[in-house]
Symmetry: C2
Subunit: 334 residues, 2 copies
């Protein structure tokens, strides 16, 4: 394979001149440039990408850290992020963090060493301090990683209130909600706080079940929904993430409870899971394509050194009408 | 940040000597090595990874090309591949090819330019010739890309026969199957050929519906199942991929057909989708973790220059019993 020296030799110039042409830096006369490009073509020379990256201190790679890409919400988000990054000329390096507590650290390290140009993170397994030490581009999805790191999220407070409203107005007076591990500093807890506040304010009972940290596998969802429904025979409404609600329907059936007659449900996220099951689950939908666009927009602006307009982007949720609440109320809440 | 020059200066040696230590090449006395390492520690020097990669001609990155990571089967596969690659010290670069016909080409190009060390591909949007020209590590999942490129797949012929058997023995005599676009050279077509052969041999009617090329979105699955079921009121059994079968149940319900009484189903892949719906779908399961292990094993062997034991790895499928066929037969076929 031809190298830069061969190109320089054939063009009758020095290696440094070829290098200037490759990197678009310094002055090279038009005539010399032509000779060099001709020599490159003649020799079928491909500039060594790694060398060029080294020069530019850019790898063109963004690391995307998510808890579990096999989870329907995260897989949809990763798909959208990858597509938009690709359009912007970046490649996606994927890291699932379900497997190891500290794999996140390794990617932060790669950011420091210029192997990736930026990080989009939807996980939080490290201390916020580890993030605060880094001055390179990081954007968080639904995670609070300190003031310096911008965050994209939905309005969980509205989401929680809509869920509570739909269950309450469907007649539920004793509800249960599944929420993520409280150890994670995520704005998503707001939806559960608001859900509980609304219910209590209206005199309804609320049981909250905290899920295990960093568990997103279907076996866990299946087991936990069965146990919780069996242990709470008096509840008339449930609120939780899509897959949990799908398994709740099955658990309810197996325990002789009819959905929605005996048990009403509202799911959070609104992925395809809510519409493949029967009855279709009423859901609070997070706008995945919009979330992805905001995350990519911010990380690209940071890499390109642009001033960020906003360090906190809060997007609207919407109601996706299903058949696990009373329909007229789902309509109303829209 | 400290550079290699600072290290050399503090250690009282030349830059070339520091470089030899970093790259483990050439002779450096133990005493000098110690001085250099001490200087690195003192200056908190991190070797420039890109420079080292350039030297070693390895990036430590594997590109994983899949049609659509939001599809439950591919998301599960990507998760498993990423986990095992991570254990082996490689990072995963993800590329969804649903978005553009030729994004595949770009990744082949990156392989040529040493930006990635290898490619695991589950897609095929390019001519087989484009692959044949490349002598670097590529392994295919369920795709025929010429003799030189190893392939990992399941025994689709057995899968197709099991599906046919279960529907036939559940009483189906007029069945329909959805199969992938025939333009793609995939061993997966074998399951449909075998399914049809078995049915015809036993005197049953078979209708085959070919799906559009490279479409894996739920809206398409929803639309196509509705149309096809409405247009084929006489069929008593259906065979197709998980999500299609999930939407078939819904389409059947909406058209007043009961599952499994009026319509029996066998799904292919056996992801969690088959167990979140009601009734749970009887499925032919592809062993995703094993597929991932084989793909990663082969690509690592190729990168490390080891001789491959086998260019064709064919794994067993198994029956995952659901409630959309007669149970005793699902049991029997196990």
């Amino acid at each position: 394979m031809a190298g830069i020296r061969d190109v320089a030799k054939l063009a009758g110039v020095g290696v440094a001149t070829v290098s200037r042409v490759l990197n678009g830096s310094g002055y090279v006369s038009e005539e010399t440039r032509k000779k060099i490009v001709q020599a490159m073509e003649e020799l079928n020379y491909t500039p060594n990408e790694l060398a060029r990256q080294l020069y530019h201190k850019r790898s063109g790679i963004i690391a995307v850290l998510m808890p579990d890409v096999s989870h329907p919400f995260f897989s949809e988000l990763v798909k959208n992020i990858e597509t938009i990054l690709y359009e912007r000329g970046y490649k996606t390096m994927l890291c699932d963090t379900f497997k190891e507590k500290n794999s996140e650290k390794e990617y932060l390290n790669m950011l420091e060493r210029n192997i990736v140009d930026g990080i989009i993170t939807g996980v939080h397994s490290l201390d916020v301090e580890s993030y605060q030490k880094i001055s390179k581009p990081i954007v968080a999805f639904d995670r609070v990683l300190g003031d310096r790191i911008p965050v994209v999220r939905v309005d969980h407070k509205v989401g929680g209130r809509l869920a509570a409203q739909m269950l309450y107005e469907s007649g539920c007076r004793n509800v249960l909600q599944f929420h993520g591990a409280k150890v994670v500093t995520s704005p998503s807890h707001e939806r559960h706080m608001e859900f509980e506040r609304y219910m209590r304010e209206h005199g309804a009972g609320v049981t909250s079940v905290e899920l295990l940290w960093n568990r997103f596998d279907t076996q866990y969802f299946k087991d936990v929904t069965r146990q919780v429904l069996a242990g709470n025979p008096d509840i008339d409404g449930v609120f939780g993430a899509d897959l949990l609600m799908a398994y709740c329907i099955k658990a309810a059936y197996s325990q002789g409870r009819k959905v929605p007659d005996d048990l009403k449900l509202v799911a959070y996220d609104g992925t395809y899971v809510t519409e493949t099951v029967t009855p279709e689950i009423t859901a609070i939908e997070q706008p995945v394509p919009q979330i992805a666009r905001e995350l990519v927009g911010i990380i690209c602006d940071m890499i390109e050194g642009k001033e960020l307009k906003d360090h906190k982007v809060i997007l609207d949720v919407k109601v996706k009408k299903g058949a696990t609440t009373l329909n007229e109320f789902a309509e109303m809440a829209k």
